[in-house]
């Protein structure tokens, strides 16, 4: 008698119109693991974050999973915890495994606070999750898998850290494997992992440190696949800095140019705008880039120092100007509530961005994310924030609770007035 495959449900609660790349990677890697071949049956539930957790639990339980893997971000964490509680109550034999930037850095805390969760993956998840499935198929002993925080009896055990995946191409492409539905405007690619910056509020680099890239051949194949997908006229990249180096920018743009000529458009590409000149703006234009996203996040001197962010107003303005000249809309992002700033620093940033007429000005409230320097130094910096996700800042030593809320409302009004144009 062949053994009954382990039923593994994989759940993500995404922003509207998006699909989870993380789930795609996890599933693609696990499905390529020969030791799991025929032993695990995967089902992906790519749902939206606004859904009632009770109905999400309904969908999950309908799959009768033995394992439930969930990708957790600060945006979906509250809903995820609700789903876990419901699934845990109805199907306690199901091993609930969480991973992602919201839970990895505070894995033990998450396990302690959510008794229905069996394990939390720390850091890069592909290899760890596959090995955990192997362990479950073999009858247990998850605490022998590196990169986990897991229950061992009544104890919570952190296993040794797992090293980074050296060869990213060893992770099969979920796009090429057909594991992610290619949605127009909602599909995105990752060409490397890591981030060259060390901004104190950001977990974009996920603590990976150095930059590791997928191969050019892999990236080109994914671009071809997405650009050739039916009904896909635009997509995006999630790389923290698209113009990482001039050479890389030329290479990527070169891959995109033929598709751009056929009508493909790219949106919300994140760029280091102070390194954008007329030439690189031209490359982006020819690659079909319609809009980019960039800082400055803040222009306050103290906040910039606290966050280790360089900012040169002249270079920034030149970058915006170059993009405008190339017909590319630029979204200038600001964060209200960065320690070191007061409300007037935030308004100075708003004023500066508007004075450049970049196309879009967007402000958001600081989220003090697990794993970031601000999370670690919050007390020292006088930063009060909500320990519950999405971890919004409550007050700082420079801005009161009420002035933070005022700044949010003021910024929203100004942004709307800016957007309302011919």
């Amino acid at each position: 008698m062949p053994e009954t495959p382990l039923r593994c449900a994989m759940l993500a609660l995404n922003s509207v119109g998006y699909r989870s790349l993380a789930l795609g990677y996890l599933r693609a890697y696990a499905e390529s693991d020969r030791k799991l071949a025929g032993r695990v049956a995967f089902q992906t539930l790519d749902l939206e974050v606004g859904l009632d957790p009770w109905w999400v639990a309904w969908r999950v339980l309908g799959l009768e999973p033995d394992v439930l893997g969930i990708s957790v971000t600060c945006w979906n964490a509250r809903a995820v915890y609700d789903v876990c509680r419901l699934v845990g109550a109805v199907r306690p034999e199901c091993a609930i495994v969480l991973g992602g930037p919201e839970v990895g850095p505070i894995a033990a805390e998450v396990l302690a606070g959510h008794p229905e969760v069996h394990a939390v993956v720390r850091g890069e998840g592909e290899v760890t999750f596959a090995e955990l499935l192997r362990a479950i198929c073999a009858g247990g002993k998850a605490w022998r898998v590196d990169g986990l925080c897991v229950r061992k009896g009544q104890e919570i055990v952190s296993t040794p850290d797992r090293g980074l995946i050296e060869d990213l191409d060893s992770i099969p492409s979920p796009h090429l494997a057909g594991l992610i539905e290619a949605l127009d405007g909602g599909a995105y690619l990752e060409t490397y992992r890591g981030c060259p910056h060390r901004c104190a509020y950001c977990f974009e680099g996920k603590g990976y440190g150095r930059i590791r890239s997928f191969s050019d051949a892999r990236i080109a194949a994914e671009i071809d696949a997405l650009a050739g997908a039916p009904h896909v006229g635009s997509f995006s990249f999630i790389d923290p800095v698209f113009n990482l180096t001039p050479e890389r920018l030329r290479t990527l743009c070169g891959m995109l140019v033929p598709h751009a000529a056929a009508g493909l458009r790219l949106h919300t590409i994140e760029v280091d705008i102070e390194r954008i000149d007329d030439e690189s703006a031209g490359l982006l234009r020819d690659a079909g880039v319609a809009s980019v996203e960039t800082g400055p996040q803040t222009v306050g001197k103290a906040a910039l120092e606290t966050c280790h962010r360089p900012f040169h107003a002249d270079r920034f303005a030149r970058g915006v100007e170059a993009l405008r000249g190339a017909g590319i809309s630029c979204e200038c992002d600001l964060i209200v509530g960065i320690p070191g700033d007061d409300a007037y620093d935030f308004l100075a940033g708003l004023r500066l961005c508007l004075s450049l007429d970049p196309g879009v000005v967007q402000s958001s409230t600081l989220h003090v994310l697990p794993g970031t320097e601000l999370w670690e130094r919050a007390a020292e910096l006088g930063l009060e924030f909500d320990r519950e996700p999405p971890h919004e800042v409550i007050a700082t030593s420079g801005v009161t609770f009420r002035d933070l809320r005022r700044a949010e409302v003021l910024a929203s009004a100004v942004q709307r007035a800016y957007r309302a144009r011919l």
Partner: protein, 294 residues
């Protein structure tokens, strides 16, 4: 931060407190040819970024017989944002609302004198005025949704001794009408500012808790120390009379001051705020007039 050049389409008319200002003079509209020249020059001469942005003000612009030509001239001249200051009664006609949006107007400013028909209509001297305004704005919002455009509604609240107690209710009406900003402007030199400030700050708070920004014009910092952002002058320059005591205040250069009346009753309550120096530096920074280290 987003400045508009005002072009008055004539004289007279407008929404103002009849008890303070008496009956409005009849509207007299400027000749179309003259206005076309004004509009074209204003847009061409504008160096405002982001912009150029133009507001048609004065007596009710919808009363001008050639409003479509005026709007078209602004659009042809290359205006980025075009605002009409209106009592919105003309927008009760769906054709007007649809037409003005299709022509390119995205910003609308309406005036509120009271938070109820009872007060607004009496002060405006026009029975049914508030209902007409709110109905017009409702039709406009429907057209905005239908056309899928981004518009910006703002409310102007001229403050006087006759409506200051009603300011929170007025802010609530503005919120309900879809405004995303409220400008509270002191419009009564005889108004007791010290007594008015609690009503103004309550109106600001009403706006904020409903996600609508409210800004106070004509009040010095020292009268609203806990609401400095609402009077901080970081959005645009204000004007206003100053009390002699203001000369000793480090905020003097930045602060619009208040409309001090001849008797100088206000002087008794004016005193530089305790952290005037800090606030002066902060506001200067936000206005970009002083470097980070100021």
């Amino acid at each position: 931060m987003i400045d508009f050049i005002d072009v008055a389409v004539g004289t007279g008319g407008g929404v103002a407190c009849e008890r303070c200002h008496g009956s409005a003079m009849p509207a007299e509209y400027m000749a179309t040819s003259e206005l076309l020249g004004l509009i074209t020059r204003a847009v061409a001469d504008s160096r405002t970024v982001p912009g150029p942005n133009l507001a048609l003000t004065g007596p009710e612009p919808f009363g001008h017989p050639d409003l479509p030509s005026l709007v078209a001239a602004a659009v042809d001249a290359g205006v980025s944002r075009l605002r009409i200051d209106t009592d919105a009664s003309a927008l009760r006609s769906q054709d007007n609302a649809a037409g003005v949006l299709a022509a390119g107007v995205r910003h609308f400013r309406f005036s509120l004198l009271g938070g109820s028909a009872g007060l607004h209509d009496v002060l405006a001297g026009a029975p049914g005025a508030l209902d007409a305004t709110l109905t017009g704005l409702d039709v406009l919002r429907g057209e905005v949704r239908a056309q899928g455009v981004t518009s910006c509604l703002s409310a102007l609240v001229p403050i006087c001794r006759h409506n200051l107690h009603d300011l929170p209710a007025i802010a609530a009406v503005a919120v309900e009408a879809g405004a995303n900003a409220v400008l509270l402007r002191v419009d009564d030199p005889g108004c007791d500012l010290a007594a008015a400030v609690p009503w103004m700050t309550a109106a600001c708070d009403t706006g904020v808790v409903n996600g609508v920004w409210a800004e106070i014009e004509g009040v010095p910092f020292c009268l609203a120390p806990d609401h400095a952002l609402h009077v901080s002058d970081v959005l645009r320059a204000r004007s206003g009379a100053k009390a002699p005591a203001c000369r000793d205040c480090r905020l003097d250069e930045l602060c619009g001051g208040g409309p001090v009346d001849a008797s100088g009753d206000l002087l008794a309550v004016l005193a530089p705020p305790a952290r005037a120096g800090d606030l002066a530096g902060a506001v200067s920074r936000a206005r970009g007039s002083v470097g980070h280290d100021a």
